[in-house]
């Protein structure tokens, strides 16, 4: 037994020495590789930049060992680019097989490879990638799904809107990832989103209404107001928030009615929204909420009233029945006075 342990100890010592050797060697190798890469990039940058400028011939007769470096450069630049430069990058990756390469890797057995491909396809700006990426929204691995969502956003594909919303509603995509992808699609996402306001699933309605609030305009107000009467509290709360973002005055009456909703967080959302919409008339019902309601709606209402009608808040604070939230709101009003 002792002998075995001694051998184990020797083994450990060798592992230690091995680790050190690997460490040192790797550091050297990495440093050298890095230097080479930086040098190659420096050399090829002018050509890559020229390509972005609409001059694809610039990389036409480069030797094959330079192509990966150029591809790497362009993929990196692609993160930041839109417009004509992005189109040039799309053409490059299409003609030099980058897109095909990544599309094939979308079916790799390793999750991280699939995720990397999904991510890169967004930068390669090829419309051919849209359907495979939508398919990837069903991948077993969360990182792959997230990368696919991001890329669909980068590709601004309206046909991805419904799958993205449903993926989030099914908890296959986190809210930030799905939401950011939809925001990246932008205005073209509105028609499918408006349709989703009437979806059967509450999760889909709730997400759709939040995004309509972020992307839409005053014309969407009526449709969002209808959601204030939704059967799901989450949908009602998000609808209130959306009305606040849209800022249209015609939502005021509906929001004021929502101040009497059964559920506290819906009332709180309505209070926040009224502050954003800016209609002074809402101050009176808000002050009522601030005086009597649960913590979160009362606080939201107090702050909202302070923004809408500071004078009314100061008056209310003077009375005996004011309560803490109104006093807090009044102090905030005084604080903001010049």
């Amino acid at each position: 037994m002792v002998a075995a342990l001694t051998w184990l100890a020797v083994g450990l010592a060798m592992i230690g020495a091995f680790c050190v050797a690997v460490l040192a060697l790797r550091r050297l190798a990495l440093a050298r590789g890095e230097r080479k890469r930086v040098a190659a990039e420096g050399r090829l940058k002018p050509q890559a930049l020229a390509l972005l400028d609409g001059d694809p011939a610039a990389v036409g007769d480069l030797p094959p060992e330079d192509m990966p470096v150029v591809a790497g450069l362009l993929a990196r630049y692609a993160h930041h680019l839109s417009g004509s430069e992005r189109r040039e990058i799309a053409i490059f990756f299409e003609t030099h097989g980058g897109v095909d390469h990544e599309l094939s890797h979308l079916r790799s057995r390793r999750a991280w490879r699939r995720a990397t491909s999904a991510f890169l396809l967004g930068d390669m700006a090829s419309p051919r990638a849209v359907q495979p990426l939508i398919h990837a929204l069903d991948d077993a691995d969360a990182a792959v799904r997230a990368a696919a969502a991001r890329s669909l956003g980068r590709l601004a594909a309206p046909e991805a809107v419904e799958p993205l919303v449903y993926a989030h509603a099914a908890e296959k995509l986190p809210r930030t990832v799905a939401g950011q992808a939809l925001l990246a699609v932008g205005a073209p996402a509105l028609p499918p989103l408006r349709a989703l306001l009437e979806a059967a699933e509450p999760g889909a309605r709730e997400f759709a209404v939040e995004l309509v609030g972020l992307l839409g305009d005053a014309g969407d107000s009526p449709a969002v107001v209808r959601r204030l009467a939704d059967s799901s509290a989450e949908v009602r709360a998000k609808a209130a928030r959306a009305l606040g973002r849209l800022g249209a005055r015609d939502g005021t009456a509906a929001l004021t009615a929502t101040l009497r909703d059964r559920i506290p967080f819906v009332r709180a959302a309505a209070a926040h929204a009224l502050a954003a919409v800016g209609d002074r008339e809402a101050a009176v019902p808000l002050l009522r909420l601030a005086a009597h309601d649960h913590f979160d709606p009362a606080r939201a209402a107090g702050h909202a009233a302070a923004r809408l009608d500071p004078a009314a808040v100061l008056r209310a604070a003077g009375s005996d029945a004011a309560g803490g939230h109104i006093e807090e709101a009044a102090d905030l009003v005084v604080l903001r006075l010049p």
Partner: protein, 130 residues
């Protein structure tokens, strides 16, 4: 009347902590005939702006040390640079962010991801107005 000294080529200051973005903008604007000065963070940007008195500043919003809004505010505060046109480069374009940019004193903003061609066109437009 511009307080900047008369020069052959217009000078544009570009500030962004991301090297790639600086390169992209530099390349495009230099090709268009401008002289470009680059800064890596807000502090450097402010210093360059004061020293060199560029004709226009393109500032990233999310920069270390001083962000784009703060640099703009500082530029507006000093008489020498108060008239300098500022274009903000930003990924955040919700209403609050846009308002904040204009409140700080910016003249225009460009959303990230962006097109350097478009940036050049805006720069041309702003400088052409003078």
């Amino acid at each position: 009347m511009s307080a900047a000294p008369q020069r052959e080529r217009a000078v544009v200051l570009v500030a962004d902590d991301d090297t790639d973005i600086r390169e992209l903008v530099l390349f495009r604007l230099e090709r268009a005939g401008y002289e470009v000065v680059a800064a890596k963070d807000g502090e450097e940007a402010l210093r360059q702006a004061v020293e060199l008195q560029p004709d226009l500043a393109v500032l990233d919003v999310m920069m270390p040390k001083l962000n784009g809004y703060e640099v703009t505010q500082e530029l507006r505060r000093s008489e020498a640079t108060s008239a300098m046109p500022v274009i903000l480069l930003t990924a955040r374009v919700q209403d609050e962010d846009i308002t904040r940019g204009f409140d700080a004193g910016a003249d225009d903003y460009i959303k990230k991801p962006f097109s350097p061609q478009e940036l050049r066109a805006r720069v041309q437009a702003v400088l052409g107005r003078r």
